[in-house]
Amino acid sequence: MAFAAASWRQSVGRYSAVSRAYVRVGLALRFEFLVGLGATLLNTWILVSIWSVIRSGSSDVQAAFDAPDMATYMVVAGVVNFARMGHASRRVIYRSLRQVSTGQIAVELVRPVNMQLLRYAEWLGVFLVDALLVAVPTWLIFRLAGVVDDPSSGMSVALFALSIGLAWLVLAGLHFIVNAITLMSISGSGVTMARVAIQEFFGGALIPLALMPGALRVVADLLPFQAITSTPTLVYMDRLEGPELVRAFGVQVIWAIALFAIGMVVWRLLVRRVQIQGG
């Protein structure tokens, strides 16, 4: 028992060291993150503008969102639109998985760590830099411009933080799987573009899910993407309450676990494939 606790502590120490190292990797790429900030600002601004035009022409949209809410939704969704991760974090993620195809993985495989957790730890490091250098400044700038509303209470902030944490777990699971598939193939960029487009479309970054036309809404609810973008955004806006809130968190937890499990299986297949190819 004592042994288990010690080794657990040791593992946590090990992985958090990896995360800290990747915070430094991310900070070394701060120029790339600043470009990412510029792109996120413009991207969000465009979507806020377009939805303001759409809202003024549609009573359905007006019924669902008043003008400040509409803007707040698009800004927060733009900030937590992790589909559109910065170039820098994408680069780190891609590089870490490319080791499989370059054979560098052999070096990694002899290390006494779980590869999947190692990747999660690395991405957590870059993710934190992404949040620090892109997400928070984007929010702050729109906040100063008076476009986005504040969360209503400290409780909302806490719940928002929790939902972001869960969203990140879902996201990491998704990245792990998609990148693993990408690495087994040579058509990487197409797959990435498709993931971004589908994740944005069904995640709620482009269209609030409440406004999704019938059948599409059903599909969106069945996919994990809403747990990444839509849920944190709605939590921020206090749009989820009581049983709805519990259910949304439950869905996030389920997806985080499910994607982790799928990732584990995919990883096993991938390693076997690497061994068959024989480097």
């Binding site: 120029f31 503008s49 170039h87 087994m184 058509s187 498709a194 269209i207």
Partner: protein
């Protein structure tokens, strides 16, 4: 011309042979490349399920702008594939072989890179474009058809020039690729009619000049009277952008250091 079509044909055949060896990959690539375009189009459809007009433009008109802009992009990527990969060539020293071939570099490197899967996405954009032309009544007027063709040429030229400028800048500025990625993230917003955006964004999209790949030239073809000014300028802007891109390429080649040791 004949030599180049033969070279493209030969390169295509070879690529197809290679694709046939990786069937999983081929289908994955084709499927995902088509998928993301379909979802971008679907977003336009969802917008128009709420409103009949966006910035004064109807769904089919917007679809036509989108179609021309991205048909131009994919044709540019097919015919001048090198532009899109110039940074890799500069970064990893791949220009070494490209430069010892007896052919204009842009063309030969593009032949080498030409991807047959673009044919699928090009057909998709072409289908959307033609459908939009039917539904906006463009075919009723020969002049409008001509102006749409001009719009396409302008789009290809602007796209090629923009791509060359962004990706050849790595010769001076190794971080240009991240700027390029940042800019390309805005690419898809080319689909909104400029009239629906606030003025600062209009200026931004005009200056970049994404607006000349679809909105201005198509607006000019559809309603010449309203949008004649920037619309009529689309082709000259295209020629200018492509020329700038070509000059930057020439300068970049002069600057090329061919070292594999640039930090990646």
């Amino acid at each position: 011309m004949r030599r180049w079509s033969r070279l493209y044909a030969e390169s295509f055949t070879i690529r197809l042979k290679a694709m046939a060896q990786y069937r999983f990959d081929t289908w994955l690539g084709l499927g995902s490349n088509l998928a993301w375009r379909v979802f971008r189009l679907a977003f336009i459809a969802v917008i128009f399920s709420f409103v009949a007009q966006l910035g004064g433009w109807s769904a089919w008109e917007v679809a036509l702008m989108w179609g021309i802009s991205f048909l131009g992009q994919d044709l540019s990527h097919l015919l001048f594939a090198f532009a899109l990969h110039a940074d890799d060539y500069f970064y990893y020293g791949g220009l070494d072989y490209a430069k010892v071939r007896p052919a204009p570099l842009l063309l030969w490197a593009s032949v080498e890179l030409a991807q047959p899967d673009h044919l699928l996405t090009i057909s998709f954009y072409a289908a959307v474009t033609v459908l939009a032309m039917v539904n906006t009544g463009v075919f009723a007027s020969p002049l409008a058809v001509l102006l749409i063709l001009v719009a396409l040429v302008a789009s290809i030229l602007v796209r090629t020039g923009m791509t060359l400028v962004t990706y050849c800048s790595v010769a001076w500025f190794s971080r240009a690729r991240s700027v390029a990625h940042g800019i390309s993230a805005l690419n898809e917003h080319t689909k909104y009619p400029l009239d629906a955006l606030p003025v600062p964004l209009q200026i931004f999209m005009t200056a970049l000049p994404f607006a000349f790949t679809g909105f201005y030239p198509v607006a000019f073809a559809l309603r010449p009277a309203d949008h004649w000014m920037p619309g009529a300028l689309s082709l000259p802007v295209g020629v200018l952008t492509a020329a700038v891109g070509f000059v930057i390429l020439r300068l970049a080649l002069r600057k090329y250091q061919s070292v594999g040791s640039v930090d990646v």
